[in-house]
Symmetry: C2
Subunit: 228 residues, 2 copies
Amino acid sequence: MAKIDSSSEQEGGAIRRRNERAILAAAERVFARHGYRGASVQEIAEQAGLPKSNVLYYMGSKRKLYVRLLERMMERWNAMLDDISAEDDPAEVLSAFIRSKMLMSRRHPEGSRLFASEILGGAPFLQEYLSGELRDWVQSRAAVFREWAERGLMDPVDPVWLIFLIWSSTQHYADFEAQVLGITGREALSDEDLERITEFLTQVVIKGCGVKHPAAQAPSERTSLTER
Amino acid sequence: MAKIDSSSEQEGGAIRRRNERAILAAAERVFARHGYRGASVQEIAEQAGLPKSNVLYYMGSKRKLYVRLLERMMERWNAMLDDISAEDDPAEVLSAFIRSKMLMSRRHPEGSRLFASEILGGAPFLQEYLSGELRDWVQSRAAVFREWAERGLMDPVDPVWLIFLIWSSTQHYADFEAQVLGITGREALSDEDLERITEFLTQVVIKGCGVKHPAAQAPSERTSLTER
DNA sequence: GTCTATAAGGTGATAGAC
DNA sequence: GTCTATCACCTTATAGAC
């Protein structure tokens, strides 16, 4: 994958850094809302408080800007995906997995929607990533889940469908936010709501997959999957 | 307006009906892929095998065409949403719910993605529907779920989060099809795959929410299969 | 570095020929 | 009923003034 130059080094002045940040934030919103084609550089520029040409000057092209946003989102994603091993406790790993995904929906809803929009459109820019890097990640987790099942630590569910279940049910609160708010009649979901939902999803997944709790072991501090 | 009336007194002749069908099918694909703004009437016309002006002649405007597609999808949705009562068996109702949603993803993937795209963009055309009709539907189901919980037929989970869980995890296979195929390395999901996924989701939800099986099992505590 | 002006082409919609 | 020609506008991108 292409590296991400975080734009903060070298010749980037304070102005450039500030403008780029504003453009990226605005672009994430606009692309998330209208998709790649539906988004216009003009609208991005307006939301960033800059003239249109400035956006193209900094980012090169609409396409490059879009790819850069996708890569930034993939980096956030990767930063979250720690390694696990068959020696870890299934309940803890699954719980941390769900929690970190919910946190991702909470902290980067526009990024999540940008990603969703890209997938919805057939993933023209991400097909390589999906069938390469991400597929490998899923397969390695699946192998661990299968070993847990063999050891009788959980039911022999298909690990891939389980991963999709966790992804979809957590991303839902970012991607379908408009629906969630409309149906619940809320203006926004509170931290407390999110906590309740996280607990609900964790319980359903762990209980639903027959995950055994380690008999004599208190839940140890396992913070590698959770942010902060 | 002189109308050539050939063999059909209904609104629109055979040609019109055929063309409208082609336009609706093409438009659903294009809107699903690129969103409302990103879709062009030109592309819809090409995929329908008609000149651009013809699409606008039949449908009035891009906007009307889009709204018509959303309404058609809502109709399909409504046709699926049977009434339930607290007297029904929870396991059966939840199982049927999941199965019908999976079938919806299977039969109308473009419609599902069109809907998803609309929600992703903030649901500008559907806000009324979400906070009105659909909200009422959810609330009435939620009331039934709560009564089941009070009767001890299932765990006291929040019904709304449960409905979102079922929606998200089933729609995932239509909306994120590109991701699912990329990761699984398949060309398409087979009927058998869908059946397995349906069974998996059903099991996780029913077991995860502690839904009791009606006739076969006495309500006494059986801790051999589920904890607590 | 920053922004105005403009190029080259696509957009939704419509008028009017057939 | 059907389709070609056209409208005014908006799109991305660039050239060049300050």
